[in-house]
Amino acid sequence: MADLNKINEIGEVQAQLDADASTTETLKQQEFTRVDLDTHASTVDVADQDLFTSIAAARAEVDLFLASNPGEAEIRGLINNIEAAIGGPVNSEEGIWLAEQLGIADELGLVAGSAAEAPAAESEISPERQEELRAVVDHYLEKTREVFEAAGTPIPQEVTEEAMNALKEGVENPEIRAIIEQMEDLQPNMEWVESQSDVATALMGNSNFVRNLSDGNLAAVDTLLTTLESDLEGVTDEAERAEIITEALATVPAPTTPDAASTAIENGDRAALLNSVPESMQTMFAAEFEAWEAEMLQPDATLISFNDYLIREAAGDEGKLRTIALKMQLASIIELIKPFLDMLKSLQGNTDAADEGPSDEETRAEQERDLAIRAADNGVSVEVQRQNETIAAIARYFNAPGAPKIAEFCDLEASPIVYNEAKTRAFLARDENANFKLEDVQATEATIKGLASEQMSSAILSKGLSLNELNAIALLPEGAITATNESGITIGDVLVPYGDNFTETLENVVEAFNEDREEEARQATAEAQAEAALATQIEAGEVNVDGIHIKAAAGETITPELVAQAKALLAQHPKAAGVFDKGLSVQTIQNFVNVLGNPQAVEGEWIILRDNDVYLDSEWGDARHSYPYGELTNEFVNNLFTQKLAEIHEEIND
């Protein structure tokens, strides 16, 4: 069996590989004997397809790796990856299992059961190397203290001297050693980032990087920093550096957890932020958040979002830049070592380290208790107390002597909308991506005042509506608000009550309101167009609209009134179409209109409009006169038809 502890020492890798017909050569030639996945399944109790798929993918990557003709350093990198994946030495139980799956266990001299022999190898780490690793822990402790003390924030409870000592004492333990070696690997990154202000600024502004850190995805972070360090070496031109950094950041993999942390940062949502980051990072973010909030409440503050605040801190103050970047790195190491510290404490019965000072959770609990006491003193609920304190803080800001002109807008008495908690938070956030900025709020207020009378707009603005609701009102068309009262606003003739569904109801009502107005507008347009078309036809001496066809004879003028009369009669007597659509003269149509418009003639059935003809009847005379529509002419109508009607009329009158 190959001595893996020797492999762990880079300087001895060469001798090991050379002496043993070269493990490297063996791996290069892929002459390893992999256990067939199907037959191996029963022995390793591999039950689910995901695991098979993952093993196959890992093997494919190893194949690819071996095909690249790896040297000793690369082989060492592969072993490092095994150790990183299992969080311990390669000759542990998990390391052996993984090596077997990859088909390289034999080449690495790993057999099941060898893990039990591992303790015997512990003593083989050289005293010099032990000192180096202990120095790494000391350096980490020193750096942690320096950074957190400079920032005025409590040192994470995990990083106590006792805990660090326990870590150092465990340096001969392979599992502890592997962790310290990972800390060692991260150390150059930390120092390098500390020295590169533009890189640190970019990292702080990259949500994927932050999220990877909070996700504990140190491999991705490490890869990024290693690539950046290499690519930026010797590059001094700022634009060129910025381009390289941008390109590198674009390759940062998306983290495996939801982006709750970055969303919370962008929204300036303290509670969500603290819930979405590891415990060891909560103190840091809580402190940053409080610093930001305190700054925003200063009378002369320039309001910026929490996200912008973090970036500004990184970009504008090199000391703080280092602090923030390092704190994030240190926090990530805390995540790395925490399980081992827990293990050590358990083994050594050393619980003192964990008991020193209040935890973040305890601090928050204490703050909540204080808040509850103040709420009880004031006889209000905790939530109301919290809101009142927020409002009071904002009020102090706006009412402070020399407050900026923003106070004019946020006159607390005249514009009660500032009291809305959601609005207050949005106002404080003022994120580029947030829905509300100060300018938006001002615009909304001005718009509402322009939409409604002073009395109505004042009533709306004093209701304490959220900005979402106010924005929905600001989108109303002019003239839509017809009234306001205590319970809601009236759009047209529909009351929209304030309440949970106000915005949605308002949108629906406005939609209907707009549809009505659009229909009215369409009708008005159509009428205007029809009038214009009629005028044109009248001018030309021939009208042919809506079934009314009139041709003006010489000297005649068609009038809109005649057309309207004809249209009205046609609507009453559809069969009159047989007369009206013949293109008769003005005089003829006027005569016909006179007859058809005579109730006596119609009701007495002197004239009957039939399907194909006009039928003139008289019970007194011999009249049974049929005049087919197709034969109607001006002459006929005027000389015969009209005359006949006159005769009938005369007979009746007699």
Binding site: V44, D50, S68, G77, I82, A84, A85, I96, A112, P188
Partner: protein, 42 residues
């Protein structure tokens, strides 16, 4: 026949976690190469 002692004492969830992480790391290694800056040939 006596039951054989399991060869490994961790579950499939842990195995999947290990393999997934390793696969990711080797892929990074393949894509970016190994960082040899810390390797001391001495």
């Amino acid at each position: 026949m006596a039951q054989t002692e399991p060869k490994f004492h961790f579950d499939n969830k842990r195995k999947l976690e290990i393999v997934s992480k390793f696969e990711y790391l080797v892929r990074q290694l393949n894509e970016h190469g190994v960082d040899t800056s810390n390797v001391n040939p001495e």
